[in-house]
């Protein structure tokens, strides 16, 4: 399992109710169900990924996260997870507010755009950076948002959403191993993982 998912999994209390937005084939949900006996649900827009997740015995809705999240009652979940999907979200403010309506806590992970390698690449080549974490050209990337860790913190402040926990990680996104970055995370971390609380 991806290292950022391992970190997210470590934050989840056993037996809790979890909604995974953009769950792909459900590896995090399957892991949490097996290790932490959670009651999980996933939402996935890709038929093939959603179909594979359901075939694994997971509860998954094939559909769009914006539409599907609307149907859940307030506080229906203990955790709502958005892992490595925020870069592709059209309206992050609405989605994060919805996450914190249906869930008591939200967990968001994303690639840190201002990792030093991206900065160097941009500075020395003058081209839009391509990295292992964001391996696309400008014309074919599904990632419509670039998110530095410090900008995400400012965004949370703007929303009035408290950051309960955060970790900066250095890893490849297919890698199953990584390490926590404490020194200048906005420069040295490849991923940020945040736990958000409900706005007061």
């Amino acid at each position: 399992m991806r290292y950022d998912l391992q970190v997210i999994a470590s934050w989840i209390e056993p037996g809790s109710r979890v909604l995974d937005l953009g769950c792909r084939t459900g590896s995090l949900l399957a892991h949490l169900a097996e290790r932490k006996s959670i009651i999980g649900t996933g939402i996935e827009i890709d038929e093939d990924a959603a179909g594979r997740a359901i075939a694994k015995g997971l509860s998954v809705i094939h559909g769009d996260i914006y539409e599907e999240i609307e149907d859940y009652p307030d506080n229906a979940f203990d955790y709502v997870i958005l892992s490595q999907a925020l870069m592709q979200v059209l309206d992050p403010e609405t989605l994060i507010r919805e996450m914190l309506r249906v869930g008591k806590l939200g967990i968001v992970s994303f690639p840190n755009f201002t990792h030093y390698k991206n900065r160097f690449q941009m500075f020395f080549t003058g081209r839009a950076p391509m990295s292992k974490e964001l391996p696309y050209e400008w014309y074919n990337t599904p990632n419509i948002r670039v998110i530095p860790i410090i900008d995400f913190r400012r965004f949370c402040k703007h929303l009035g959403v408290p950051i309960v926990k955060e970790l900066a990680l250095s890893t490849h996104h297919h890698d199953e191993q990584g390490k926590v970055i404490n020194f200048l995370p906005n420069l040295f971390a490849t991923f940020g993982v945040f736990m958000l609380g409900q706005a007061r």
Binding site: I39, T41, E47, A50, G51, R52, I54, A55, K56, G57, L58, S59, V60, I61, H62, G63, E68, D71, Y72, P73, A76
Partner: protein, 411 residues
């Protein structure tokens, strides 16, 4: 239908594209099965939703697999509009055509008869062995005909419950069905929430759209406009075959899709190189529909068709159980759901499945949903589809784990 009957171009998919699938390679089979009959309500007739009473009631049914000692591995399969109890296997060694869902029900298949005990019964109002308009009215000794009471999906399900009771089964592991069978699945899950662990409604709806009712009405009018229908009293004078065949043609169109018809027929001509300039079946699609209509007449009763389409039209889960609110209706349910729709199904389009999923979610029910990309229209749920097979087997496996049925169980 006066044109000479020409079989369609021989092609597997032609005959497969029907509510009643045949000639599909279906893999290992359950082998020989037997149609049995269960009768109840002799002393105490079934009180129908209409207020009328029906009794005694006979259900034709078949089973595959073995019921385990604690009777926890039973799956009820509900057939679609004009289906029957012959879900899988064959009646005799030389029968060419296995049951209608042989691709899904059998040893090692998604509804695995090595693990599950499968029950499938013909609905009341049908004509495949269960009490319906062709049955003799005990009061007169003559076929009921149009004096048969109008039955509902709820009535069908209540009759099925008597059958399930007769096996001593307290809770069904799952109820599975597509189309009108899916309506029965939904009805089971809401009417008898404590007797169903899981429900799998496929390509179905919680209520017919105006469009669906409209097609059914055209089909019914085709039957009733046939002079031989004779207000439903035709069992001695000859059946309204033309009307029934046209009704089937109309229905059949709704099971296909623009894409599948374009792909299979386009505007190709049937057994000719140029237009006939008369009213012969010029086009392959005409010939195909005539063939399907005429084939249907051999196995189906016109009155039954009227009753079954009416039952489908009357089905309205939100009105019946939720005073117009689907969310309120599903507040009665407690089972796990797997809802499946198909992209090209315009009879029960995906939005209708999404509506039920939405109501289930609002009730905090455990639901999975998948819209399968498939070009064949409404019939897709009966055709071989790896995605559908994988969804069913994975979902049922989870239900088994949840209900602790499996390895330790001596079946």
């Amino acid at each position: 239908m006066s044109a000479p009957l020409t079989a369609p171009v021989p092609c597997l998919i032609f005959s497969a594209m029907s509510e009643y699938v045949d000639q599909i390679e279906t893999g290992e089979s359950v082998g020989l099965v037997e149609k049995r009959f269960f009768t109840f309500g002799g002393d105490e007739p079934l009180e129908l939703e209409s207020g009328r009473r029906l009794g005694p009631v006979t259900l034709a049914y078949e089973t595959c697999g073995t019921l385990n000692a604690d009777k926890t591995n039973a799956i009820l399969v509900c057939h679609a509009l004009t289906g029957d109890s012959h879900v899988a296997g064959v009646y005799s060694g030389n029968e060419p055509k296995p049951g209608w869902w042989n691709i899904m029900v059998g040893p090692g298949k998604p509804i695995d008869t090595d693990k599950y005990f499968v029950i499938c019964s013909n609905v009341i109002g049908g004509c495949m062995g269960s009490t319906g308009p062709t049955s003799a009215n005990p009061a007169t000794g003559q076929p009921y005909g149009a004096s048969f009471p109008v039955v509902t999906i709820g009535d069908m399900v209540r009759a099925q419950r008597h059958l399930v009771d007769s096996f001593g089964i307290d809770t069904l592991l799952a109820v599975v069905g597509g189309s009108v069978g899916g309506m029965q699945v939904l009805e089971w899950s809401v009417r008898y929430p404590h007797r169903v662990h899981a429900a799998i409604p496929l390509a179905t709806t919680t209520k017919h759209s105006a469009q669906a009712i409209a097609f059914n009405e055209v089909a019914r009018q085709a039957i009733m406009a046939d002079p031989k229908w004779n207000r439903g009293d035709y069992y001695e004078t000859g059946r309204p075959e033309h009307g029934l065949a046209v009704a089937r043609m109309v229905g059949h169109i709704t099971y296909l899709s623009d894409e599948s018809m374009r792909h299979k027929f386009d505007r190709r001509l049937q057994d000719r190189v140029e237009l006939s300039f008369d009213f012969e079946a010029d086009f392959q699609v005409e010939s195909y529909l005539r063939y399907q209509g005429n084939k249907f007449v051999d196995r189906f009763d016109a009155n039954s068709f009227l009753y079954l389409t009416k039952a489908a039209d009357y089905f309205n889960l939100e009105n019946h159980y939720g005073d117009g609110s689907l969310v309120a209706a599903f507040s009665r349910a407690s089972c796990r759901y797997l809802v499946v729709s198909f992209t090209s199904d315009w009879l029960y389009p995906t939005y209708q499945s999404k509506n039920m999923v939405k109501a289930m979610k609002k009730n905090g029910l455990d639901v999975s949903f998948c819209e399968i990309e498939a070009p064949w229209g409404h019939d897709a749920f009966l055709l071989p589809n790896k995605r559908l097979s994988d969804l069913l087997s994975g979902f049922l496996h989870k239900i088994c784990l949840h209900c602790r049925i499996g390895a330790h169980d001596e079946i």
